[in-house]
Symmetry: C2
Subunit: 80 residues, 2 copies
């Protein structure tokens, strides 16, 4: 079925916005991956008790962030 002109015009900005959001969420996943890996490497070094505590906090928050961003990317993937 052919799309009407109005429908094409309405669809276009949404498609572009979704593409833009997908691109941003992809870049975000790269930054989060860097944090997860650096936190892992940090845990392998000799840290005092306070440093261990902050590293553990970073590790947990980074894994939460990865999970949330994965959910965002799945929603965006399911769109137009």
């Amino acid at each position: 079925m052919m799309k009407g002109l109005a429908e094409v015009h309405r669809a276009k900005p949404n498609d572009e916005t979704t593409q833009h959001l997908r691109h941003l969420a992809h870049d975000l996943s790269n930054s989060l991956e860097t944090i997860v890996q650096a936190a892992y490497l940090l845990e392998q070094t000799k840290l005092d008790e306070k440093a261990k505590k902050w590293t553990k906090l970073i590790d947990t928050a980074a894994k939460d962030a990865v999970r949330l961003n994965r959910q965002i990317r799945e929603i965006l993937k399911s769109q137009s």
Copy 2:
């Protein structure tokens, strides 16, 4: 102007999706804020050279992630 039934049905899932995305991006910003703050506190502790390197990497990646997530939230805010 009154909306047709078809238009209402089409609009509803998008609104709900945007709301859901906004909610996820808001939670994500909280996780990222935790990482930025923990990285700052980590920098105040006594770290060896390797640990300093991984901490710096986390700090940079977390600031990139905050910037990207802010862009995502601004786009979502501008949507219906």
